[in-house]
């Protein structure tokens, strides 16, 4: 076996693919944290969305409707998180953890009801890969970017839009103000509550898109716990990327590489699967340890009390 069997263009194409759900979830994390709400429920939002997408695709035969359902499911969970943390000022970590546990139980429960198995659903119509003409003929770059499932391209577009929105639009200015100094935003006449809700719901929707990728873009079924901690890795990518969409994308590439490498090694059977599966998590811990000192969060995450 040569090194070329492991490290080749296919690996980089896979890297981009595996970076997609992490990026989308990380973008979700950014929008939530930028308005001052910690969202560790990205994992649960992704999982519930992955499930919802598959369920709707199963019943309608249309994977794109599934994607829509996934985004909606994520947004709904985002709304719940927002209600608990913004209106009721509940502890953000506890709320997020509750949503994560709920997602695990709910998806397994419904999986059992619909397909009779809590482990995996039946195969459903999924998103077919598309090829971009001209782009796919460029050597190397074309092989990586030219042919991918549509959600990969969506991810790239959404990342650029997110960066633009945050730093070049009035809404982005308000989002950053609300997270960093809600009192200042309030006295400027901005509705802090509305902006926070917006940020957290968008956060859920983005995570939902990431979940849709996992179940409809990457595979074509739902499996128990298929998010595998990516929602948490996305948080690390968010911190690594200094809460900026382009930065989070860069960090996600790194984690996506680890993910793709792990799958490649597993399929080649070089090392026992469990050892390989550990890699992305260990990498996340190391990455977090290495970079966090220099990263300043965009908010102090305290619930805003007007009095």
């Amino acid at each position: 076996m040569n090194i070329i069997d492991i490290i080749n263009v296919g690996l980089f194409a896979a890297t981009l693919r595996m970076a997609t759900p992490i990026t989308l979830a990380a973008l979700g994390g950014i929008f939530s944290e930028r308005v001052g709400v910690v969202n560790i429920a990205l994992e649960g939002m992704m999982l519930t969305s992955a499930f919802s997408g598959v369920a709707v695709s199963y019943y309608t035969g249309n994977p794109w409707l599934g994607v829509l359902a996934a985004v909606a499911a994520g947004g709904l969970l985002g709304l719940i998180h927002a209600v608990l943390t913004v209106t009721f000022k509940g502890n953000q970590i506890v709320s997020g953890t509750g949503i994560n546990i709920f997602a695990l139980g709910f998806t397994a429960y419904m999986s059992q009801i619909i397909w009779g198995s809590r482990g995996a659903s039946s195969s459903v119509p999924s998103l077919k890969a598309i090829s971009i003409p001209l782009l796919k003929d460029i050597p190397i770059v074309g092989e990586i970017l030219g042919t991918q499932t549509p959600l990969v391209y969506v991810m790239i577009i959404v990342t650029v839009i997110a960066q633009f929105v945050l730093f070049k639009t009035p809404m982005g200015l308000r989002i950053r103000a609300v997270g960093e100094h809600p009192a200042a935003a309030d006295t400027a006449g901005i509705s802090v509550v509305r902006v926070k809700y917006l940020g957290v719901i968008v956060s859920g929707m983005l995570a939902g898109l990431g979940g849709a990728f996992l179940s409809l873009g990457h595979l074509s079924l739902f499996a128990w716990g298929m998010t595998g901690g990516r929602g948490f890795i996305a948080l690390a990518a968010m911190i690594f990327g200094r809460w900026m969409p382009l930065g989070a994308f860069g960090a996600s590439i790194m984690f996506g590489f680890a993910d793709a490498l792990q799958m490649r090694l597993q399929s080649l059977g070089i090392l026992p699967p469990q050892i390989i599966l550990m890699l992305p998590y260990i990498l996340t811990v190391i990455a977090l340890a290495g970079v966090v000192r220099k990263a300043t969060p965009p908010s102090d995450y305290k619930p805003y009390d007007k009095g």
Partner: protein
């Protein structure tokens, strides 16, 4: 006041003080009780929406959990590891840190205990059992120590690192028990522990083992440490106001590291108890999510050691009663997880509970 009257006063003081404490304790638990009730309500909605009868489901859960000696024994057996992980989360919370990796700490502790249990032969139980328990505690403690140090020295958020290490523990032990330490046969498990390393069953024919006793001892110990020792004082101060604690000369970082070590060790001890008392060997995937249960139980128990025991029994009942419920009514077992998550969510919204309380006041 005459001698006689004084005597009566003295006699009445102890029981009335206890009653007062009981009443205040119950009142303090009211938000949690309402959260549990609300969770069951929403769970009932889910059941009805998917075509099941909540009354049947809940009723069979109740009889399954408490209906007979076997049921009670199984309930307490399921409650035992949850007590450990709940104490682990509670202890970390008191120091101001979120240890959500109790699941992994439990598993790695169980494996370490198994290692000690299968590696030595001919040791007297008096040595072997504490040794295995110690190994489990140390392994779990290490799993808590690493995120603690990363947080203290580098500011790495412990929510992410404990979660990541949980996955690492799961995969690491899975590897161990699928390859180097695999017992002959199809199942991914170790060979049985030496009898000298196993904890005795205390309520045959149920699976209830001496691990339950260890759990109760740990509950008392936790209360004692937190309330009656300098270390506990420093843990609580660090958790409530680290700046003031620092100004008062407390080394907050060191306290947090030790607290997270202790937290992980508690979970690890729970894993050891399971391996040594219930299964007699380390089986891949032996924990159906006791770490998550522990989190919910700690919250429902109001982060108080006594509340933890009560809530753990409740959750143990959910699990053991749940198995009966699935068998009889065919409701998927995961409704139990849904119920638990709803409890967590409702506990996270104290204001919601207060709204409900005020609403009830207005109504009646």
């Amino acid at each position: 006041m005459t001698e006689g009257e004084e005597g009566i006063y003295r006699e009445n003081r102890l029981p009335s003080r206890l009653l007062a404490k009981l009443r205040s304790g119950l009142l303090r638990m009211l938000p949690q009780v309402i959260a549990v009730a609300a969770a069951f309500l929403v769970g009932a909605v889910v059941l009805v929406a998917t075509g099941y009868s909540p009354l049947d489901a809940y009723a069979t859960m109740l009889t399954g959990a408490f209906g007979d000696v076997y049921g009670i024994g199984q309930t307490l057996t399921q409650a035992t590891p949850i007590i450990f992980t709940a104490l682990a989360f509670l202890f970390s919370m008191k120091s101001g840190l979120f240890n959500i990796g109790a699941e992994g700490q439990l598993i790695i502790g169980g494996f370490a205990a198994a290692l000690v249990g299968i590696s030595f032969d001919g040791l007297p139980a008096l040595i072997h059992v504490p040794l295995a328990l110690l190994a489990g505690a140390l392994a779990g403690g290490a799993w808590g120590f690493i995120p603690a140090v990363l947080k203290a020295k580098l500011g790495a958020h412990e929510v992410i690192t404990t979660m990541m290490l949980s996955y690492v523990a799961t995969y690491l032990t899975s590897y161990m028990v699928n390859y180097p330490f695999k017992a002959p046969g199809w199942v991914a498990q170790t060979v049985p522990l030496a009898p000298s390393a196993q904890l005795p069953r205390i309520l045959p024919p149920t699976q209830l083992s001496a691990s339950f006793i260890v759990a109760l001892i740990l509950v008392a110990l936790t209360y004692f440490i937190l309330q009656k020792t300098t270390f506990g004082y420093e843990v609580r101060a660090s958790g409530l106001n680290p700046l003031a604690a620092e100004n008062g000369g407390i080394n907050v970082k060191r306290t947090m590291i030790i607290a997270l070590f202790v937290s992980g060790a508690m979970a690890g001890l729970g894993g050891s108890g399971e391996v040594m008392g219930v299964h007699g060997r380390f089986i891949d995937g032996f924990s159906p999510g006791y770490g998550w249960d522990g989190l919910a139980v700690a919250l429902v128990g109001g982060l108080h050691p006594v509340g933890v025991v009560i809530a753990a029994v409740l959750f143990g009942a959910l699990r053991s009663g749940g198995m009966t419920m699935t068998r009889v009514t065919h409701v998927p077992l995961d409704i139990v997880i849904i119920l638990q998550s709803l409890v967590v969510v409702f506990v996270a919204a104290p204001m919601l509970i207060r709204y409900l309380l005020r609403w009830r006041e207005h109504k009646g």
